[in-house]
Subunit: 156 residues, 5 copies
């Protein structure tokens, strides 16, 4: 069986090393090869992910970013997300976006905890996408969340 | 006659299993093959649909998502929709988007009912697009709605 | 001389049969072949137009839609418009977008009148683009409107 | 030396014949061939420009538009601008966008003057891009404006 | 070893010659070839960068722009950023966007200082991307900023 290669793109702008948490979670759960690519900011992530896929043979990629709370930063995040979706369509390859917005947590400590939890839960989503698609299908429509408590299914 | 294959892409984020309702409706109305692909969130849908079309030979695809009520979630839905349109243009294949916004219904029960009704009505649209285009043409400009009562044509 | 084929894409969501008005206007003014394609909603129009161009050999296409008045509907219209522009760039073929927003008219009757007038005037634009480009050039910068009274040129 | 061909795309919607002013300015400053293409509205400009480049061999193109003051019109202008940027990327060819917003001037007379001044100054930019790139480089970061007084460089 | 070529795209609209500062910083830190391309405005940057990459063999490009403070200018910057991301995806090449918004500083003097500092710090990012990727990886998640004091990592 060929080893799966997982691309990890992240930024020096972010205030938490989400990539490290995700890599640790990935390695605990599967035997995978990691290719890491750090860029300055969130808008550099789309091409970094595309290069990981096309030039470093990644089978799937994670993109870690931390948009600031300023309206300008929100627009940057929007542009990055559009680019990440375009990169996926150009390569037929998943890029799991893991963004934590600076204003999602009231303190540094809670922000760091949220970032780590979200990174780890999305690492598990990568494992499921690559190795356990049936698990994802069983969880379809069940209100899963990453970094927060699950919302659960709506009771009919 | 070749059997039509219908792709079904949905998410673990959503709080209702719309895909299940749609698959049931599709099977009641036509003899079709179903390919299902569950991904974590709404922004993973565009590439999932493109893979269903290009790697799993789907003739048409449905994309089920449930955007949350937060402004951030609205932007995610917008990005996903743009990606779904791009995926259609890259493949010359329809992807019927079935999104139910969390704030469209006041209670869990009504939300679940709306989600099921919209999923079933859009499943019928898929059947019409693939098997009964003349029916769609007869309904042109008649104010059809999915999950709500039809608006009907404007009386001149 | 080869007959020009004009694609007509419209929706079952719209509350007026603009396509019928446009087809009537087109046939009164030129000998053309019509290919009609009705889809459920406005976001299905971009790929429908691209299929009309690439799979049904249309030389030009019209896209009829009626965005609702809800903010969500405005975003759908924006996404559809972006897709229609992308489809044109991918095919080097005009797609004349004819959208009538639900909130452009105060009553059903006025809405239906506006929709018919706009559909007919844009049908004439299609005729000009295909057969009378010099007429369009003569009207350049003259404040033409479709469905409303012309604004006319700014008096210097 | 091969003659440069300059594409001129404009609309019947606009209330000023900016193209005429630009063509006059271009011809006063260089020996160029002009290809003009008038379309109904601003959203028809991207494909018109791409056709000027790919089907009528233009080396550079100008796109003239006049967005109305309604929010709907602002969104149309945004969509047109995105399409114009995409057309440039698909052809590796400049399209100089010359838009004058209806609400930029308080009266018809001032609007017409602004439109003419902007059209002429951008025509000079086209001349510089094609014939005098060193002049543009000398003006880098100097706060040039088109139709208004130059802002000038920020004094450090 | 082949010399790296760095593209520098900037505008005459900007009120500071950021490109000059960046070129000076680049030359102080590495032996590189510079290709400069000045265009009128921010929306001309995406195709300028793509031409630098594809027609003038740049290995990486910097794009300098100064969006005005008017809402219209903010939308221009958004469109330019989307185009810059698209150009990167089409070429698998980084374009480091260096935009300074006119309203980021209260005075001309502070604006000019901010513009120079940001240009120089992003020039160092270019050096790291091309020559020292391990340095970027060490700075991952550490809250780096360009032109402002670094935010630093969130303390867990």
């Amino acid at each position: 069986m060929t080893t799966i290669t997982i691309g990890i793109a992240d930024t020096t702008f972010a205030r938490a090393d989400m990539a490290k948490c995700a890599i640790s979670e990935l390695k605990e759960n599967a035997s995978v090869k990691i290719e890491r690519y750090t860029v300055p900011g969130i808008k550099d992530l789309p091409v970094a992910c595309k290069k990981l896929i096309e030039e470093r043979s990644c089978d799937i990629t994670m993109a870690f970013g931390m948009p600031g709370s300023d309206p300008k930063d929100k627009i940057c995040a929007h542009e990055a997300s559009q680019g990440i979706i375009a990169a996926q369509l150009m390569t037929n390859t998943h890029i799991i976006e893991v963004f934590v917005h600076e204003d999602e947590a009231p303190s540094d400590r809670e922000f760091a905890e949220l970032a780590e939890a979200r990174a780890r839960e999305h690492a598990l989503n990568v494992i499921k996408l690559m190795f356990k698609p049936a698990t994802l299908e069983r969880e379809a429509g069940t209100g899963q969340r990453q970094g927060y408590a699950d919302a659960g299914p709506a009771r009919a």
